[in-house]
Every structure is written in C-alpha cells, then in structure tokens.
C-alpha cells in the first residue's frame, strides 16, 4: 500500500478499531481513529485524508449523515462504508449518502485493504496495461501471460483470475473477493469452487517452473508472490 496514504477510520467499536489501525500501520498506512460521528466529522474536516472508512451505525451522528454532510460541503474524499447490515436496501442507502464502496462485517482485512487501495487508485485515475511479478508478465490488452519466454495457455476466466491476483500481488485475496470480482457474483458458496479454479490455474502457472508464485493461505485466501 502507498507509503503516504492517510486513512481516517470512524468506528465506535474501539477494540476493533485499535486492531484495524494496527494492521493498517503495519502496512505503512497513516491511520487515524475517531470513535463517533461528530468527532469523525471534525477530524475529516480538519485533516487531509486520502480515504475515509466509516461505520454506518455510530453514536451521535450516523455514518450516512456524516458522509452526507461532508458531500454537501464539497468534500470528495473517497468513502468506504463498513456495516453490520448487508442487505441490498442498506447498501443502496450507503451509496445514496455519497459512499463509494460498502463492506459488510465481518470482513477479511485483505478485502478491506484491497478495496481501500482500489478507491484511492480510482480517485488518482491510475491505470496500467502491464503487470509483472518475478518472471511472470501480464499484458492486459493482448490478454497474454508469459513466464520468461513461455506463453501460458490460459482460458478467458483463468486469465481474469490471474489478472486480479496480479493486480493484488503480495496481498491476500479472499475467495469472496475472487467470486465478486472475477465472476461478478456476490455469491455465497459452500463448496471449494474457487479452490478448484485456483488449482487449475496453478497447474498452468507453477507446475513446470522452479519458483511457485501462487500460494494458498489457510482460512484467508490466496496470495501471488515470490515466497520469502
């Protein structure tokens, strides 16, 4: 994650907030915490943050009111809502208030991190067409993947899967993130459906090469990196 990324977390659950801030700081993010809506609003007005992570249910002033107020004042800082309410109506209310993304509790830290990064990247307008990790190269326009000189024979979906993992290289990617972003479904699956696709991708990506790149993290998801 970006070295100078400044993040404001507005969350009334102080224990959870402390844990979260620690994780963000460990990733090099400058995380600030506010425990209620009013102080969150003040902090957001006073400081210059790159991204706000706001709980929807807050004492004194709800998260949606906070964001509505900021938006009325012309503040366009990207906002990600955290909420224990995950129904469609609740999500729509979040976006109506001016939120840019919505994450339902509980979530994997990896997913929150990925979404925060995506929000910041989106507001910076950054795009890339080539991705690289060790000897793995991805051309997003030609939809080609190579390890060294060898062209990998991937089908469309395998390429999308690899592209998403490459876009989040070095970060843990959860099964839910893959289902949401590669298959466009916020589906809940009981089976190992994602693992089956991952193992097929792994067979093409790592089998014939010395350095494995795609690793499984039990209980968390997958990570694309050169193992330390």
């Amino acid at each position: 994650m970006g070295q100078n990324l400044r993040l404001l977390l507005v969350e009334d659950d102080t224990k959870a907030a402390a844990l979260l801030c620690d994780r963000f700081r460990a990733e090099g993010v400058d995380a600030t915490h506010a425990a209620d809506g009013a102080s969150g609003l003040n902090a957001a007005r006073a400081g210059t943050f790159d991204v706000l992570v706001v709980d929807r249910m807050l004492p004194q002033m709800s998260g949606t009111e906070l964001v509505k107020t900021l938006r009325q004042e012309g503040d366009t800082t990207p906002v990600l809502f955290l909420s224990a309410l995950g129904e469609v109506d609740d999500r729509v209310a979040g976006f109506d208030a001016g939120g840019d993304d919505y994450l339902t509790k509980p979530y994997a830290f990896a997913e929150l991190q990925a979404r925060v990064t995506a929000l910041v990247r989106r507001s910076e307008g950054a795009t890339t067409t080539h991705l690289q990790l060790a000897d793995l190269q991805l051309d997003l326009l030609a939809r080609q993947a190579r390890r060294g000189d060898i062209l990998l024979d991937l089908n469309n979906r395998e390429f999308d899967l690899l592209a998403y993992l490459m876009g989040h290289q070095g970060q843990i990617v959860t099964r839910a993130m893959l289902l949401q972003n590669v298959w466009n479904y916020g589906l809940d699956t009981q089976t190992n459906v994602v693992d089956v696709h991952i193992s097929r991708l792994r067979a093409k990506l790592d089998k014939d090469f010395d350095t494995p790149l795609l690793h499984t993290k039990r209980g968390q998801g997958f990570i694309l990196e050169v193992a330390p």
């Binding site: 994780r23 460990a26 995950g86 994997a108 479904y185 589906l187 699956t189 009981q190 089956v196 968390q220």
Partner: protein
C-alpha cells in the same frame, strides 16, 4: 355463465329466483284452477237454468211447445239443443246426430266438439221417452283460460330473466368491489404494507358490510406493518450484535497470523475457516428470516436466464469435472424474468451445491435447464443421485433439515429452505420431483412479479 356460476352472489340470486319462481307458480296455478272452476260453474249454471226452463215448458205446455221453443232457441248463436226419444231418435233441435262426447260424468254433464268449437252440455231425462241435450259454446271461456295460461307463463319467464339478470348484476357489482380491493392490495404483495383501502372511511357504494370488511383489512395491514417493522428492528440488532464480535474475532485471528512466527498458522487458519462457516450459516439464516417474514422487499429487475446459467456453468463445471461428473445446461435462450439476480443466482448455486453434496455419482450428468411455462419460467436442476423419497420432500425444505444422517458436518441445512424462500419471494414455488433416478428441483417462477 360458468364463471358467473362460481360467484357466491349469483348462486344466491339463482337459488332465490328458483324459490320465488316455485312460489309464484303455485300462486298462479291455484289462481288458474279457481278461475277455471268458477268459469265452469257459471257456464254450467247457465246451461242448467236453460235445461230447467225447457223442462218447465215441457211440464206446463207439453211436448209441442217444447219442440217449438227448442227449434227457436236452436237458432241462437252458440246454442246446442237436441230433443230425442228414448231410443235416441232425433225429434227437434239443431243437432241432428248425437255428438261424440269427449268426456262425460255420472250426473249427465258432457263435453264435445262442434268442429273446432268446444261445447259443454247437459243431458236431461224429461220423461221415459224424452231426452233433452242442452249445450253451450264455451270457446270464449276456453280462450280466456288460454290467455291466462299464456300470461302466467310469460310472467314466470319474465320473473326468471329478471331474477337471473338481477343476480348477475348484483354478483358482478360485488365482484367489482372484490376486484377493486384486490387491485388496491396489489402493492402489498410486493411488500408495500403502507397501502390502505380508501372506501373504509366514507362508504361510496356497496353498503356497510363492505365498509366493515375494508376497515378490517386496513386494521390487519396496520398490524402487519408494525410487526414487520419490529421484526426488521430485531434482525438488524441481531445482525449488529453478532457481527460486531465476529468482526473483532476475525481481526484478532488475522492479526495473529500477520505477526505470528508461522508455527500456528494452520490452526489459526482453521479457526478463521470456522468463523467464516459460522458467519455463512448466520447470514443464510438472516437472509431466510428476512425473506420469510416479508421484511425484505423484492428488488426486481429484468434477468436474462441464459447468461446467468452460462456464468454458473463456467463457475462450477471444473468442480463437476473433478468429481468425474458433468454439468450440462439446456434451454433458457431468450428467456427473461423480473427478479433479483443475486438471489436467483444464490438459489441456483444452492441447488448445484446440493447436487454436488448429495448426488456425486461418478460418470453421471447434472442438467441445469430452463424453459417457458405458460407466462412463467421453470428453472430446474436434475441429478441422478440417490434422490429424496417423496414423503421426505416437504421435510427437505425445512430449516436445518438433514435427511442423510451420515453426512453431518458439511453444509448448514439451510440450502434448500433458502431456495424455497427465494422462489416464494419471487411469487413462485420450489417443486421437488423424482428424476428417476435422482432429484429434480424445479423453480417455478412467474415472468413478472
């Protein structure tokens, strides 16, 4: 007519009309009998008086005078007279031959016809050798009775039509009110419980009973709305209260993994999987409750069936291949329905995973099919596994149902109940059928909600 007969109002009107018709037929019949009787009595009196006068003339002035009188009277319009001797030979009158009687009685009354003209007559024995027949044309009376019969029949027929027409009108008017109420309540089916019937306050038409019914419906809606609001509050609080500690637990476990030395990664990972499993069951239960209680309003958008099925095939085909099975999709082209794509997708995922869990027969084929069914769509998943016995179909749809005791642990037992709830949420039904062998789960969904 058939639809009319199904209406309670019309049936009541029909029964009432029938009763009225019977009563009226009785009254008119009695009237007719009395009328016919009276008519006959007055005709008979006339004839009897004539016969008595002639008998008097015979006694007082003798046979010659009688014969002359009879000859004279015989010229009168409608008069029939015949004087004969004891053996029946004609003596005087306007009937040369004795008429063929249509009816006779012991007193000496008889009926016969002169051509078309009906005649009523009386035979009188004046003395041993003299028989007098005095008759009268009763065509006027008969015509009168015929006119009465006609009028009565017309009255009954008119009565029948007025009864049926009135019944139909009243029934249709009642039906219109029912339709109006039905139309007004349509939004309720889509989850809008703030609807109220307007006629309850001021009675436009139809009467107090309709007003009372509408007031009752309104009271019911108000109560439902309150209850559902309360349910929503409870489930929101529950969601918040359970998710907050789960979020902390998850964050702690992840923090442990992040700074750990790697020695306990596997155990911590397993704990994370357990948290996620718990969360899945909890989410499924919460979704199920929201769907079944009617708290959730349907977010209906046009959903193309074929791409949805293709996506799911793309997602699951490798899982089937790993189990040496095949997933095939069939039909669905150009099929569209209005609904919540995410929920419908989840329902199909649950069906597919159900087949993977319970019908994993190597070499078998599982078919995901969609076809048009009247105005709606049937999306079905057919496997060739062990199936579910027909008597267990209902049980299979219950929450936490586990028909296969040996397979405890995997899955949360909410899959099929959730599919059924999603179907119901879309105004459809989940039908379980025998695929011979295997299970065929059919989602019957209307094209529009």
């Amino acid at each position: 007519m058939r639809t009319l007969l199904r209406l309670a109002g019309f049936r009541a009107a029909l029964a009432y009309t029938t009763l009225l018709l019977v009563a009226m037929a009785l009254v008119l019949g009695l009237l007719y009998v009395r009328l016919a009787d009276n008519l006959q009595v007055s005709q008979d009196n006339l004839i009897w008086r004539e016969a008595a006068s002639l008998s008097l003339i015979h006694q007082r002035d003798g046979m010659r005078a009688l014969a002359q009188t009879i000859e004279a009277m015989g010229r009168w319009q409608g008069s029939y007279l015949r004087l004969s001797d004891g053996l029946g030979a004609f003596i005087a009158g306007n009937l040369k031959t004795f008429p063929v009687p249509e009816a006779t009685d012991a007193e000496g009354w008889l009926r016969f016809r002169d051509g078309e003209v009906p005649v009523r007559a009386r035979l009188l024995q004046l003395d041993e050798n003299l028989v007098l027949l005095v008759g009268h044309d009763v065509a006027d009376g008969a015509a009168l009775l015929a006119r009465f019969r006609q009028a009565f029949a017309l009255a009954l027929i008119a009565m029948l039509f007025i009864g049926l027409g009135g019944g139909a009108f009243l029934a249709r008017r009642g039906l219109k009110r029912v339709h109006d109420i039905g139309a007004a309540l349509q939004p309720v089916m889509q989850g809008d419980l703030s609807v109220r019937l307007k006629n309850a306050q001021h009675d436009g038409q139809g009467g107090a009973e309709w007003q009372a019914l509408e007031a009752q419906i309104n009271a019911m809606l108000a109560r439902l709305e309150k209850l559902i609001h309360a349910t929503r509050q409870v489930s929101d609080n529950l969601a918040h209260d359970l998710r907050a500690p789960l979020t902390r637990l998850r964050a702690r476990l992840e923090a442990l993994l992040a700074k750990g030395d790697g020695g306990a990664d596997n155990e911590i990972g397993a704990a994370l999987e357990d948290v996620d499993g718990l969360l899945r069951s909890f989410n499924a239960l919460l979704t199920l409750s929201r769907l079944e209680s009617g708290v959730a309003t349907l977010q209906a958008w046009p959903v193309e069936i074929a791409p949805l099925m293709a996506e799911l095939h793309d997602l699951f085909a490798p899982v089937f291949e790993d189990k040496k099975m095949t997933l095939r999709i069939e039909g669905g082209d150009d099929l569209q329905l209005k609904g919540d794509a995410a929920l419908l997708g989840q329902a199909l995922v649950n069906l597919i995973e159900n087949a993977l869990a319970h019908a994993a027969v190597a070499g078998s084929e599982v078919v995901l099919a969609a076809q048009k069914n009247g105005a709606g769509v049937v999306v079905s998943l057919a496997d060739s596994g062990g199936g579910i016995a027909p008597q267990d179909h209902e049980k299979a749809l219950q929450r936490f149902a586990r028909l296969d005791e040996s397979r405890a642990g995997d899955g949360n037992g909410l899959g099929l109940s959730l599919v059924a709830a999603i179907c119901a949420h879309h105004g459809g039904t989940l039908v379980l059928a025998d695929n011979q062998p295997g299970l065929r789960a059919e989602m019957h969904l209307p094209a529009t909600v």
